[in-house]
Symmetry: C2
């Protein structure tokens, strides 16, 4: 068997960062470059040195009001009883706001306080005026030589305004760092609409390029380099010439084809290989020819977290910024964990979570943990750090969550935990459209998981479709049993046709549940309403789980089941028709079920819940359901009160 | 006298905004346009419709670990006592993380759990494995047909990652609105390093262009249009053709040359003219040929606030964004006001403030109130809104402040209120350089104002240079009098040479304070140490204030005094040598004074104060003082304890 480097010795996260920054400092890598930049183009740029005004603003004594300019000393003694008459030209002059006030004039009387003498050009005023009344003296706002902006200041629109007013047409700014991004991997291909089996799309380069841009750098995406020692080495050496920093993606672990660390050891210094964080372990922090070179792992979540923790702080430094990286700017809230998290003592783990507010407390539910779960980053409202020395947290514990999402948005979110259906995504999209600022946050843990979360106060609504085998009724009896004596309700949702998804043209001729003994099956997770329905039907047909090949294989959503049935490995799985249609599968109806939303009566009046019901009852929503197929909506949005 | 439209009838702020948005809605102005955009270029763009994945991720059942692929069903019964031997090719296959797991294989055993048989290619495992162990099934992260992003979603780097992974190479996004910016005014010139007297630099266009870019639009700055009805009309009609929105700057009030509203009334509909806000009153909200046209006032602060309140919400809508404008995203804190604010009942006023934290409370000090005080926007940490129906707030009252600056940065700020010197700016700049994240926040209210603020707990340090006429000593006796019995201290600062600034070559032959009776003078504000020194010297010379022409004219800083002495209107003013040097003035020494920092002993150990003292004692700082001239630093940073 080919030799592997089985064990990656890992360094704790903070220590790795500090060691690397120190090594970069000592190697002189962190000196940012500078360039002149046009003031008009300087938004977001960072000043290298303090900027001093070249000219004053106002440039001259200027009228602050519309009216007349007068000589202040000559107005002494004017009053209502003894108004002062002034001659045009020698004693007063009409001026508008902003006009220069020149000697001998040195004050302004507002137009409203001036009376015209009938039949002449003379005017009358009824009060004496002090010197510089309603006059903005030279330099009142900006004096030539005054410091307008300090160094290391990130230029905002208001700064551009004063630079221009102060006569500064260009200024020295820190150069934006050039960052090369090198994707590696023989099996990696450029993003493609129809990738072939075995291909892995390079999605990280595009993500990194955007992260570099957000951090104030200029990204350069390179072509994909295969798993070849010499080619990787050549590419790094080429990019190092013209860039300030190089990122190499994938090939950074200890697998048979992970050459990156060996290349970097040959052409430079590897300061750190392996960090005690999960996801993100196989990070390489190196210096080559006086420039930072970082190897990031291939899995998207690992790549993202490693970029944030190690690439960004370096980028901040070499871009001349001295504000903290985005991590330090995030808000942290305390939230109640709705599901147990178990973690190893080998590393610090970053668990992505959805966050909601139920009543006056924040609650959070962990998303998919895997390093490849890119959608967990898209859906995450924040993350919970499990320190290296901790083995995890129990459900119900209060944890610290660092937020990606604004607290204001979280407070406007309708929290939903329970059974998955595509209509959750559709309703979230409609909410964003019709109720700007509100959104629907769905965590998919199956019907039972949802009702449990509801009982613990961790969700507002719980989508559920649980069949009571004895009564043949849906949902109500479960709610009565789980919430005895409590004031509950059911917001009616949709009827859904459940069935068996099979390959196109049904090659195994599956007619019903009894035929599943002939198929390679994929199940749903425990507690999923679909799985409960399967068990019911199997029982009716006298079939036991061990008679179904693949009963123990689990997929988390209808779409995932459909994707698997469309693949070579699986022949059948239960789910809803729209998922089957999306993958071009055949569909054998098994029955209709009711997909509803359990809720506590006290929450029925929440604005988000009212918005939710409005959407359920809207014609637009019904049209979408019609288009998707397999749904009935005649009761959608209706409230059924349940006495526990 | 030329006819003026003296009175601008004003509408309350919220009502003006709502009326305008409603009018725009009814005129069909708020429908954003769309275009296809390359996924790689889509950072920050907003989705028009939900985006569904085209392909799965993973695309195939993929190994989640390095190791061997096996057939799960054939591993039943394997144990430590009865290890299972597997043949290469038929019974196992070496795989790396990410490799496809194809039939007949359906599970992975980690490399660490595999033992090689000595002298052959066979391997042994000691545990049975369930189906899909360490396998990431097809579609586990993204299933084809699944919704990746909802509509009205602003694309982030993680979104680009999943779009690419899901096979989406381009998507429909809202077009960035094109916004024309038309500066008007016969006296306005393009920004220039050496403007002539009477010129007013157009600094607003550059600021607006940056604000448009920040709000997601594409700005077009037009050439300056003079105060000419026909030319303004022609320019607006020309720009309306190719832009989605037009901003006209200046000429928006009721002065003799304010044509904008008349032009817009002719070619379109003026919905609002005049808003009850200060600064910002002369705003025009109009619709021309189905597009929004907004007239913004000429003064920079008015322009900025009017842009935020009226241009931005429209821009948000026509760019397809449905998040709130920047106002709604701001944090608000409660802060104690250090200085009385008086406001009229005619309008809502936006008072810019500096904010600091002293002990555990936030304190705020108002900045210059004028509509032309652009530097007040640069220096502001936030603003305090004085509602239309309020007449203001008293010093010591707690007010709501909407923050521009991060709370974290405010908490890292050393608050300084008191006498102004250029070294405050220099030290702030050095703090930004040496202590990233920290800064020095200086509010200039004169020495007495600073000590008063210190006594009320509204500042940490108070720069002061107050001469005790009886003892000839500086600062200490004032602190003893104002803080009897309290544990105070003085951080020694610098010696400063004070003197009289006069024009180059001293045309009036000023030799000392006694000669000021022959000059046009400009004074400093009450409570300023420089004014106290002048009064002392005048008293010594037997001169009374009324003998000095201009004793009642006040400038707020040394630089402002210098700028005035350099102008035609003023002959002399007191201040420090570096300010005179900056404007090329002659300087007649009057005496040396001590410029120190009063502080409570309990605050001496704050990190910001320690950093401050380090800077005072640093060689770099002393070199800068040497260069500026007129300073002595032999005691800088030393602490003098004062028993009250």
């Amino acid at each position: 068997m080919a030799k592997r480097n089985l064990y990656l010795k890992t360094t704790p996260v903070e220590e790795a960062g500090e060691k690397y920054m120190q090594a970069l400092e000592e190697a002189g890598c962190l000196k940012p470059q500078t360039e002149m930049t046009d003031t008009y183009e300087s938004l977001g740029r960072i000043t290298v040195e303090p900027v001093f005004a070249k000219c004053c603003s106002p440039l001259f004594n200027a009228a602050a009001m519309d009216g007349i300019a007068v000589k202040s000393t000559e107005t002494a003694g004017a009053s209502e009883e003894r108004p002062l008459t002034l001659e045009p030209g020698t004693e007063y002059k009409i001026i508008d706001t902003g006009d220069p006030i020149r000697a001998p004039f040195d004050a302004v009387v507002m137009a409203e306080d001036v009376t015209e003498e009938v039949g002449s050009d003379r005017v009358m005023i009824t009060r004496s005026v002090p010197g510089w009344q309603h006059v903005r003296p030279i330099g009142e706002d900006i004096a030539a030589g005054e410091m307008l902006l300090p160094s290391h200041h990130r230029i905002r629109p208001v700064d551009i305004g004063v630079l221009l007013a102060g006569g500064i047409l260009s200024l020295k700014a820190f150069k934006k760092p050039q960052v090369s991004i090198i994707p590696t991997g023989t099996e990696i291909i450029m993003p493609h609409e129809n990738p072939a089996e075995g291909d892995i799309i390079d999605s990280n380069s595009g993500m990194f390029a955007a992260m570099v841009a957000e951090a104030g750098g200029i990204p350069h995406r390179c072509g994909i380099v295969p798993d070849d020692y010499e080619q990787i080495k050549k590419t790094v050496l080429r990019e190092i010439k013209n860039s300030d920093m190089v990122i190499i993606n994938a090939g950074s672990s200890a697998g048979t084809e992970d050459y990156t660390v060996h290349v970097l050891r040959e052409i430079g210094d590897v300061i750190i290989h392996g960090v005690a964080m999960k996801p993100g372990k196989p990070v390489i922090l190196a210096i080559v020819q006086g420039k930072p070179v970082i190897g990031l792992p291939g899995y998207p979540v690992s790549a993202y977290l490693a970029f944030e923790n190690f690439v960004e702080p370096v980028l901040q430094k070499i871009s001349g910024s001295n504000r903290g990286s985005r991590n330090t700017a995030r808000k942290t809230v305390k939230a109640v964990l709705s599901k147990r998290i178990v973690s190893s003592l080998k590393h610090r783990e970053y668990v992505r979570v959805k966050v909601g507010k139920v009543g006056d407390k924040f609650v959070c539910a962990p998303l998919a943990r895997g390093a490849g779960a890119a959608m967990s980053l898209v859906r995450a409202d924040g993350f919970c750090v499990i320190p290296q020395e901790s083995e995890g947290f129990e459900a119900g514990e209060t944890v610290d969550v660092e937020l990606y999402t604004d607290i204001a948005q979280i407070e406007n979110t309708l929290v939903s935990i329970g059974s998955h259906d595509m209509i959750i995504d559709v309703m979230n999209d409609m909410m964003a459209e019709r109720f700007p600022g509100m959104n629907l946050s769905g965590t998919h843990v199956g019907s039972m998981g949802g009702l449990m979360a509801l009982s613990r106060g961790e969700t507002v609504i719980a989508p559920t479709h649980l069949l009571d085998e004895e009564t043949g009724e849906y949902n109500i009896s479960y709610i009565e049993k789980i919430f005895p004596g409590e004031k509950m309700a059911l917001i009616k949702g949709v009827d859904r046709i459940q069935g068996i998804m099979v390959k196109k043209d049904n090659p195994l001729n599956i007619k019903g549940v009894e035929d599943l003994t002939r198929a390679r099956y994929v199940n749903r997770q425990r507690g999923a309403g679909t799985r409960v329905l399967l068990d019911y039907k199997l029982k009716q047909a006298g079939i036991t789980p061990d008679m179904i090949n693949g009963y123990d294989k689990e997929a988390a959503t209808h779409m995932a089941v459909a994707a698997l049935v469309a693949s070579e490995e699986i022949d059948a799985g239960m789910g809803i028709k729209p998922a089957a249609d999306a993958m071009g599968l055949d569909f054998i109806e098994v029955g209709t079920e009711e997909y509803d939303f359990a809720i506590r009566q006290e929450n029925l009046e929440l604005p988000q819940v009212k918005a939710f019901r409005q959407i359920l009852q809207s014609e637009e929503f019904h049209e979408k359901l019609e288009k998707m197929g397999g749904y009935g909506w005649h009761q959608a949005g209706r409230i059924v009160m349940i006495k526990g």
